[in-house]
Point group: C2
Chain length 210, copies 2
DNA sequence: GTTTATGGATATTGATACTATCCATGGCAG
DNA sequence: CTGCCATGGATAGTATCAATATCCATAAAC
């Protein structure tokens, strides 16, 4: 398959495919002559994955590259690959200020982790985001939202277990599990988010329409 | 309070405040003379909200403006304000192709809405995203993830109910409910996402570390 | 009364994600 | 075998976004 057909099959414009090749998101095709390469099914799959991450999940191209490098590496442990994916979808900020709200939030997060026996790296990017989000909710006068964190965590714990079970049950090789976990992590977020919006819209329609 | 103090109190640089004023994210201060305006507590709060939506939730500035216009309008129903917020946080695509995967996904979504008695506008942006996400999961060979949708929906339904209850129970006026719902919708997403990543990391650490 | 800050307008920057153009070469139709 | 379109590879250009920077006339503070 040459580039024009790859473009046709995947729906991605030729210049964009060239761009992804340049950025090493897509491995080069097999050169059959200095200006002729042949692409295969792997390229079609990879292109689909890239577009899903970029278009649906809104992951920046540079981060998609990181994730794919993790997937392609065969020396990296699954845990590290997942860490890479997590870093790709959270914008790593650092706790800037030490306001009372932030400290209270940090304490709440510590308590949450302890009570659920969640063991996470202390520099996990999601930790900072969670702390900042809770602190911000409080500083915006929405303490009652921050107080829902435990209820959210209950629900989250439930479907994360299901997710991991589904992913590990349906794949024989570690490579396939890795790919599945990464797709589940990133696209799963988009999925949950849309479900939540639909649930909200439905409740809102019943309660507040007209 | 003049602009320098507003900047100091909020931690937002003066040029950025000017930018938000230009873009009408922030209402102008009260002019006390042709080149002197005074800002109040409302501006500090608003600035905090803007930064939370932009930095934490990653909402584009133009969409933040839409959301705030909804909040400031006193003729708009809560349901419409929520719709605005939903549109702000989903990139509205339209179903491009009519592949078998997409049609299967659309059917699955219809069945889901029916079985849960969710009534949503047929042009809700989250509908398209949900359909595309399910279709993409299938096209990537992750049918077992797409099959988890019902389990996700269970969990989502649970915490959406809690959220709405918390928000309506703690606020006397419709204006406050609106603000709370919008903050809960948008920041809640960030919150849930970080909780999910933490839960995943914890499970992953136990299962696959080393 | 001089220095500094302000509001308002316009211009510039840096990052991101593509698109477009160019060119030498190679496959292929006639 | 020959003319032309497609290709790989490189470089340059575009659009958008979110700020920053610069100017300027004026007003406030010391």
């Amino acid at each position: 398959m040459r580039i024009a057909e790859l473009s046709r099959v995947s729906g991605v414009p030729v210049p964009t495919i060239k761009y992804y090749l340049r950025e090493n998101l897509l491995p080069p095709g097999e050169l059959t002559s200095p200006n002729q390469a042949s692409y295969g099914d792997l390229h079609v799959r990879r292109l689909r994955l890239i577009r899903a991450l970029v278009d649906l999940a809104g992951v920046p191209v540079a981060q998609v590259k990181e994730v794919l490098e993790g997937l392609d590496s065969d020396t990296m442990s699954l845990h590290d690959q997942i860490g890479r994916a997590h870093r790709a979808i959270t914008s790593h900020r650092q706790l800037t200020s030490c306001t009372p709200d932030t400290e209270a939030a940090a304490a709440q997060v510590d308590a949450l982790l302890a009570s659920r026996k969640w063991t996470v790296d202390s520099d996990a990017p999601a930790l900072t985001t969670l702390t900042e989000t809770i602190a911000t909710m409080r500083s915006l006068g929405q303490e009652h939202l921050a107080d829902l964190v435990n209820a959210y965590a209950d629900a989250v714990e439930k479907f994360t277990d299901l997710e991991i079970a589904a992913v590990t049950a349906n794949h024989p090789t570690p490579d396939q599990i890795a790919e599945s976990v990464i797709i589940g992590t990133i696209l799963g977020e988009t999925l949950i988010s849309s479900l939540r919006l639909l649930a909200q819209e439905s409740i809102s329609a019943h309660r507040w329409h007209q």
